[in-house]
């Protein structure tokens, strides 16, 4: 393992110190609770939006704390859900009197820890609502599994719902909007390589020179199938087709998001975006907004994911609204 770290046990701590030093104009960090919060939190009469999850997905979530997006983010250990104490501390920190929305990615651990935090907040009289993101079409959704994973759509949800809260929408509105985003968005990812959790020291999985893993999540877990590598166009088909098969996008306007898993250069992500755009055009789907880059990563994994959100006028308006965070900035 070759990494830019001091000690495997201090990766999250040291990274948060660096984030605070780099972005002290935007965020503060409660190092005891590993909570990144908006420097002006709590904002009176604004719904608080918090999220969190395992570390290793940067800039998600801490990099999306700031104007028009999250009020706070809880950083767990690498690929491990934060503990309830962290979400409870974040909830108290950002509660401006209008309640707090928890945006939770659908993983067994995340859901349980956020549930416990919501119970703790309720006991203190803070109104908390939770929305679980589960957009990954690689996972068969059924009553008999943990359900679909929350992946790329989380970024779009945090942006759109964060904008709604920023302009003063109430908690019920934010919950309904978040659920609408979840119902209309789907993702699919692939890996060219596994990733190495610092504390584990070994890659999560090994792929031969000519192999790819299709249907991966964001924690280095293997995907649904191992295949021979193809051209970017063929791989784009492997990602986009299952999304279009899962939800009827024909005739709709979408926000298209091509996301890098951490170790894939932007030049390849643009190659992929071009392929995705062509497939969508042929399928009668109109891209009205897009995002290309590394926004929800899996440490040093190489690969990418595609997220398509069927966007209504309200979502597009909120997407365009000002955002000013370490990881996403426009319109201010």
């Amino acid at each position: 393992m070759k990494k830019l770290i001091n000690d495997v046990n201090d990766v999250v701590k040291d990274s948060l110190l660096g984030m605070e030093a780099a972005h002290s104009d935007l965020v503060g960090v409660d190092h005891g609770n590993k909570v990144v919060y908006r420097i002006d939190a709590p904002i009176a009469n604004k719904v608080g939006i918090i999220s969190g999850g395992g570390s290793g997905h940067e800039p998600l979530h801490g990099g999306f704390v700031g104007l028009g997006m999250l009020d706070a983010a809880c950083a767990g250990e690498v690929f491990t859900s934060p503990v309830p104490d962290q979400m409870f501390a974040a909830t108290k920190l950002v509660d401006g009197g209008q309640g707090v929305l928890h945006i939770v990615k659908n993983y067994t651990g995340d859901v349980m820890n956020f549930d416990m935090a919501a119970e703790m907040a309720a006991a203190e009289g803070i109104r908390v609502e939770s929305v679980v993101v589960d957009d990954d079409v690689a996972v068969q959704d059924s009553l008999y599994t943990a359900g679909r994973r929350g992946v790329g759509l989380t970024v779009l949800m945090e942006k759109i719902v964060g904008a709604a809260a920023e302009e003063g929408k109430d908690l019920d509105y934010c919950v309904a909007l978040a659920n609408r985003v979840n119902d209309n968005g789907r993702s699919m990812g692939m890996a060219l390589s596994g990733c190495t959790v610092p504390a584990a020291g070994k890659p999560s999985f090994e792929l031969a020179e000519d192999e790819i893993e299709v249907g991966i999540g964001i924690h280095g877990e293997p995907g649904r199938a191992r295949r021979k590598i193809g051209t970017a166009g063929e791989i784009a088909e492997m990602l986009v087709r299952p999304i279009l098969d899962d939800l009827d996008y024909r005739g709709s306007e979408v926000i298209a998001f091509v996301n890098g898993m951490g170790a894939t250069p932007l030049i390849e992500l643009y190659v992929m975006y071009n392929e995705v755009a062509q497939i969508l055009e042929a399928a009668g789907v109109r891209i009205v907004r897009c995002l290309v880059g590394n926004y929800i990563t899996s440490l040093d994994m190489a690969g990418c994911s595609v997220t398509l959100l069927k966007a209504d006028d309200e979502m597009i308006r909120l997407w365009d609204a000002p955002v000013w965070t370490p990881g996403l900035r426009w319109g201010k």
Binding site: G76, S81, G109, T145
Partner: protein, 204 residues
């Protein structure tokens, strides 16, 4: 009464050292079908539990509850709420533990807490597949006393753990693999077996 705070201390410390010694095994098992952090997370949590000062908890029930809260606050992932809830519930029921029957009842309260929190059923390839048959075996041998009941529980727990190998996971991150999760031993059932084996060594 035998099952006092000192007995609980021995149980927790034995489990902590088993987890520590086998952290890499647990992490390797988790890497095959999960996200490769079970040993790391459980070790962090149990080291925090082992650092508790037993003299601050003269009542065994309070010690167990504190251990549960410590796990909830330090482990994260799914294991934190599950093991944390287990010890919290066992602690709540522990006030009345004086014989095998009441110990069995306390442990079952912990299992019920795990099922409530994690919503897993038998056969989902989780720690429930180890703990549930263990407690059935405990009950079947409860009339022979605590030692015999715990010994039977430890054997059944290990059998349940081994029985997870062919199963297809329906809960947790392993469920994302579908059929590819078969052929691998569940890491949670493995650590749970260490907990029951530690109980068998220390609580009697």
């Amino acid at each position: 009464m035998a099952l006092d705070s000192l007995a609980v201390d021995a149980w927790l410390k034995d489990f902590a050292s088993e987890i520590h010694d086998n952290a890499e095994l647990l992490t390797d098992l988790d890497r095959e079908i999960g996200d490769g952090d079970h040993g790391i997370n459980m070790d962090r949590g149990m080291r925090a539990v082992a650092a508790l000062n037993p003299s601050e908890f003269p009542a065994a029930a309070d010690y167990l509850k504190k251990a549960g809260m410590t796990l909830v606050s330090t482990v994260g992932g799914a294991s934190g709420p599950l093991y944390g809830t287990f010890f919290l519930r066992v602690g709540m029921a522990w006030t009345t533990v004086e014989d095998a029957a009441s110990l069995g009842l306390a442990l079952r309260t912990g299992l019920d807490g795990i099922i409530q929190r994690g919503k897993a059923s038998i056969g989902d390839k989780t720690l429930v597949d180890a703990l549930s048959p263990a407690l059935d075996a405990f009950d079947a041998h409860a009339s022979e006393g605590i030692s015999a009941a715990l010994a039977a529980a430890a054997l059944a727990c290990a059998e349940g753990r081994d029985g997870t190998i062919p199963l297809i996971a329906h809960k947790g991150r392993a469920s994302y693999l579908g059929e590819r999760s078969a052929g691998h031993q569940d890491p949670g059932a493995t650590s749970m077996t260490m907990l029951v084996e530690a109980a068998s060594r220390t609580l009697s």
